[in-house]
Symmetry: C2
Subunit: 337 residues, 2 copies
């Protein structure tokens, strides 16, 4: 492998507002062999996620920022080329955090074995990966929906949101989604959402009043901004706001907007709570097992939006912030050959 | 009693922003006799509370607004003049919701008997009344402080805040208070607060960093605005923000300011939760019993700020919004004669 070159996308500049193309640099480096306990794998797909924007910022957050000059952090899946870890052998498929590059060396203990016969590889970055697991624990553990309650979801057509909605339906809830554009809204109706709001063509406050005449018990927020404000205004007694993300605010260069009506939490004896999926590491397997079962039974649908070309990392990533992806956005890095 | 006249303060106009004197009108009405099950009592003290501002607004909240032309709602204490309820007799002292007037008729079932030998009457509007009970359940039930944790309180010199701080000390916490002015800050130090921030003379963000170098586990918020932003910025892992009030926002005519850094709740897996003391009605006695015990043992101090003159209701009330009261603000309506 020593002659094999590895294309890498590195973070070379911290973005201010929307990341500019100059924030990233494509470089070549030789592929390195795994040290003891490590595994070298060929990266087949990487995941493009809104959270990546936060990882580019300096300063305290739930994980350290990506360092300048480092390969951009990314989850991904691939095929093992060379293993120095007893749990993996050449040809195995794994899910890990390879970063935005063609070949990755990672500690075997941080990899999860995946089976391409159970689901296509890219699905392990979607409903059977971080987004699905995020949806599962965020809704069930933090949101604690009860049958008959109304669950509202922003960013509902996204990888996390569409899974949240389907799980909420499985749990007997009435489900309302907020998404941008007729095509995404149609998709949500196909998934069984009871009502859908197109924030691009509708007044979100007015439509929410119609869609949730009795209010909202659980709001699963991926977006922030007006969606959060509107949901707080419709919150029911002892409602729960699950803070999963705030994609509307991630590129803000001015102070982001806080919800001016947060005192609705007091009037309604409600709570707003944040969570980070990494805290559920010990229970990932439980979530994947249950969701794989639902997929098999046809109760949980998944959709990925696959783009190609690692060197075009920046323009692919920007699709997330412009609402251009439709389903879980994954970047195909290489054919499985 | 039929000749006796009753001075009443009525709400005659809904305020926009800060209540103007014209919002209230002082009127005379004959004192009425109690119907079956009711009690007529002479009002001795009424409570002046920030929450009153909310009660003046039209629209949905945790209790209905005061109607135009109605006596302004107020908690208070008094002495029974005439009883048509088996639990009370002439001369008994009671706590209830008489409103801003000299004589009140209320259902006996809504009154609580109080004992002027255990504590001075006005204290039943402070630490042994709604503010104390609010502090008790808000801190212990919603905030759930653990020994060794840091508890931060805004509006710390107020009736609720000063009780929260003392209870937190009793539970083994490190307690930091935010208050306005040197005199109030000195008072908090006397009460045993570990650190105090004077928001009138200090930069609240900078001072909070110094006062809570390891962050804040529980923030008990009576104020909102910059205090809430600053606290969110210092929140610790699994921190709790208890929303008790937002006095800085009550008179806002523009959209109030929401906390722009609310996503600190996500990063820190923290929650922000509102509560209303009325939900704890069944447990009031428990709180009063425990706090009366602490007072007796000298572990809980109380301070009231007594003003006089029912017709000057408006100007007394405004003291709250200008930070002019020092301790629980109570209006003495009449001598106990």
């Amino acid at each position: 492998m020593s002659d094999q070159m590895n294309t890498q996308v590195k973070l070379v500049q911290r973005p201010v507002g929307e990341p500019a193309p100059e924030c990233f640099q494509v470089e070549q480096a030789p592929v390195t062999a795994p040290a003891d306990g490590e595994v070298l794998y060929k990266v087949l797909y990487i995941s493009l996620d809104p959270a990546m924007r936060g990882w580019m910022n300096e300063g305290k957050s739930y994980i350290p920022p990506v360092g300048l000059g480092e390969v951009m952090r990314a989850g991904g899946v691939g095929r093992v080329i060379q293993s120095a870890h007893p749990d993996f052998k050449e040809g195995d498929y794994v899910s890990g955090h390879p970063g935005a590059q063609e070949y990755a060396v990672e500690k075997g203990g941080e990899l999860i074995a995946i089976d391409p016969d159970v689901a296509p590889l890219q699905r392990y970055l979607g409903v059977l990966g971080m987004p699905g697991i995020t949806a599962y624990f965020g809704l069930l553990d933090v949101g604690q929906p009860k049958a008959g309650e109304t669950v509202l979801i922003s960013g509902a057509a996204g990888a996390v949101g569409s899974t949240v909605g389907q799980i909420a339906k499985l749990k007997g809830c009435r489900v309302v989604g907020i998404a941008g554009g007729a095509e995404k809204c149609d998709f949500l109706r196909e998934l069984g959402f009871d009502a859908v709001i197109d924030y691009k063509s509708e007044n979100i406050f007015r439509s929410l009043k119609q869609a949730c005449p009795d209010g909202v018990d659980v709001f699963f927020d991926n977006v922030g901004g007006p969606a959060l404000e509107a949901a707080l205004a419709r919150l029911r007694f002892r409602g729960r706001v699950v803070l999963c993300g705030a994609i509307s605010q991630y590129n803000a260069t001015e102070r982001p907007t806080g919800p001016s009506n947060y005192m609705s939490l007091l009037v309604n004896r409600a709570r707003m709570e944040g969570f980070v999926v990494f805290d559920y590491k010990d229970r990932y397997a439980e979530a994947v097992r249950e969701m794989a079962g639902w997929i098999e039974q046809g109760k949980l649908q998944a959709r990925e939006h696959v783009v190609e070309g690692l060197p075009q990392f920046h323009s692919h990533l920007m699709m997330l912030f412009h609402g251009e992806n439709f389903g879980k956005l994954v970047l195909k890095v290489a054919d499985d050959a």
